[in-house]
């Protein structure tokens, strides 16, 4: 790479970074981080209530609750901010002034994506901290004899594996939302993203569709969809970590590689579509 080319790349990254920081600041202004307060209250109140009504299963249930809430809150942020990343700028006509600045369309799309991923990263990091804090207190309040009977320690570091895959899944959903945001209105983008999220959890059924239909053509079509549509179920290892089941690093690496490749493909498609859009 020549010096001028690498300098151009760095400058381009800097522009992407500026857009990303702008998106993050906008999410802070939109009070998106308030959801962290709801998350913390949910966990703390849950930990108290669960102890009263779950016959000794409070730690397991708080683990489930924290992981599920991280996934769900992240999903809401990814979908409802993701769908507005581009379409909102178009709707508000602010896209004209943005494109008049020295920002290329690919830089704009990548910056928007990076900004929302940064917002999600901050959210997930704070949720992880709250999750471990609540479980740490619960563990501290319990006697050592009963702690010994738990399937896994309350603050089991293995839960980070589940949090990590949740984050990669949220990156993927953000990319889906961004893609739809470049081609349609916010409402349609939301419907399509949520639709793909649901389909993504049934995806494994498409792979073995020949067991339920006689038509080889239909089975082949279903198998095609299996490879094309995002497969989200493998990102869910919550049950495994809560029950102290091993989640191999190789599995995490391959699932992450799948997620990153899919995100890259979606971002490329978003850039291509957005670059060809005529805003006159």
């Amino acid at each position: 790479m020549t010096e001028s080319a690498s300098g151009g790349f760095v400058a381009s990254l800097r522009v992407v970074g500026h857009v990303a920081v702008h998106v993050f600041k906008e999410s802070v202004r939109d009070r998106i981080l308030y959801n962290l307060v709801i998350f913390a209250v949910l966990l703390i109140a849950g930990s108290y209530l669960m102890g009263q009504i779950t016959a000794g299963q409070d730690v397991k249930i708080i683990k489930d609750l924290g992981l599920a809430a991280t996934s769900l809150f992240g999903l809401f942020i990814a979908v409802f901010l993701g769908i507005g990343l581009v379409s909102k700028e178009v709707q508000r006509r602010s896209i004209y002034s943005l494109l008049a600045k020295p920002v290329t369309r690919p830089q704009f799309v990548l910056g928007k994506y990076a900004g929302l991923v940064l917002t999600l990263a901050v959210n997930v990091a704070v949720m992880i901290a709250a999750h471990y804090s609540v479980l740490g207190v619960m563990s501290w309040l319990e006697s050592p004899e009963f702690r010994a009977g738990w399937e896994a320690p309350a603050t089991d570091p293995a839960m980070l594996k589940a949090f990590f895959l949740i984050f990669v899944q949220l990156m993927l959903i953000t990319a889906v939302a961004l893609f739809f945001s470049t081609v349609s209105s916010a409402a349609l983008a939301a419907a399509l993203t949520i639709g793909l999220y649901i389909v993504g959890h049934f995806n494994a059924d498409l792979r073995n569709f020949e067991t339920v239909v006689d038509s080889p053509a239909a089975a082949a079509l279903a198998r095609g969809f299996y490879y094309v549509l995002p497969n989200l179920a493998p990102f869910d290892v919550k049950t495994a970590v809560v029950h102290a089941q091993p989640v191999p690093w190789g599995y995490i690496a391959l699932t992450t590689a799948y997620g990153v490749a899919y995100v890259a493909a979606l971002l490329l498609a978003s850039i291509v579509v957005f670059s060809r859009r005529d805003f006159k």
């Binding site: 779950t54 299963q57 489930d64 609750l65 399937e151």
Partner: protein, 314 residues
């Protein structure tokens, strides 16, 4: 030249901050008053029975998307609540119809939900009216647990225990204990327990041994407390037997059954009015030679003991 003051874009509320807060408080108070009036005038709107909207675990697993675990927790909580609320309900015709479906759904959604199997089995076996008295459902639930986690010797032991304590099938119990003893990591005492069960089935000593093992090996506070309570019930049964002997001795001496504790104390057959292990007095049934556990006792009602095996010598 005097300049005209530009009109402010912000419109200040007509009431001011304090007035606004007061108005909100009054309105909320009005809502509260309306709610209280309604609650006082009309009975709470209750459905005739609890409903289970989705009965298929497979369907729920699909509908749950990535939140199966949380759904499993909800069904577990519903099972605990259903059991607890039904147990303390006043109705004579109380039923535990939804207990097994709740537990089945919880364990289908999360097949490794360990405690749901063991607690569930305890809830299901408890005799009516303290439970549904359905040992066959408890065994089915535990067998489902064994299928999901073949390494859990505890479930095999629990199945044996249900055969022993509730079904009174000592041969089946011994067979399950033997099967449990063959699982890797199972404790050494399971194999002799199988032999003891066959030899001493129905004797209180055998029951005590079983509950003692459950007490010592339970990995949960609630399970341990339940086993501890059963051990205290066995102590109470021992005490009632002793009191029966004292009454018989009284009758041998006086020709009549005792009518008061004082009669037994006066001739030294009991030192004082005895208390059960939780500190509640036993009840002397006057003129019958019988004694009962008070219904106020934390150990009430006492379990019906398994029938003892026939003495091989007789």
């Amino acid at each position: 030249m005097p300049t005209e003051k530009a009109p402010s874009a912000r419109v200040s509320p007509p009431l001011g901050g304090l007035g606004l807060a007061l108005a909100i408080a009054v309105l909320l108070g009005g809502a509260l008053a309306a709610q209280t009036a309604r609650d006082n005038r009309y009975a709470a709107w209750e459905t005739e029975s609890e409903l289970l909207y989705v009965q298929s675990g497979a369907a729920l697993t699909r509908l749950g998307l990535a939140f199966d675990d949380l759904l499993a927790d909800l069904y577990w909580i519903r099972a605990v609540q259903h059991y607890g609320s039904t147990k303390i309900a006043d109705e004579a015709d109380r039923t535990y119809d939804l207990l097994y479906p709740f537990l089945d759904l919880a364990t289908t959604l999360d097949p490794r939900f360990k405690i749901a199997y063991r607690f569930g089995a305890i809830f299901l076996t408890e005799a009516y009216p303290d439970g549904p008295g359905r040992p066959e459902q408890a065994i089915a639930l535990l067998e489902k647990g064994v299928e999901a986690m073949p390494e859990r010797w505890q479930y095999l032991m629990d199945i044996g225990f249900i055969h022993y304590w509730w079904v009174h099938d000592y041969e089946a119990a011994a067979e399950w204990f033997r099967t449990a003893s063959e699982v890797d990591g199972a404790p050494w005492w399971l194999e002799p327990l199988a032999a003891t069960t066959l030899a001493q089935g129905g004797q209180r000593g055998g029951s005590r041994l079983l509950w003692q093992q459950l007490f010592e090996t339970s990995d949960n506070e609630w399970l341990q407390a339940e086993a501890g309570r059963r051990l205290l019930q066995l102590d109470a049964l021992d005490a009632l037997d002793q009191l029966g002997l004292a009454a018989q001795a009284y009758r041998d001496r006086t020709g009549d059954w005792p009518r008061t504790w004082a009669q037994l104390i006066d001739i030294g057959l009991v030192p004082f009015e005895p208390l059960d292990p939780t500190g509640t007095g036993y009840i002397l049934v006057p003129g019958t030679g019988e004694f009962e556990l008070s219904s106020d006792s934390l150990l009430f009602p006492l379990p019906s003991e398994p029938e003892a095996l026939p003495d091989p010598a007789s």
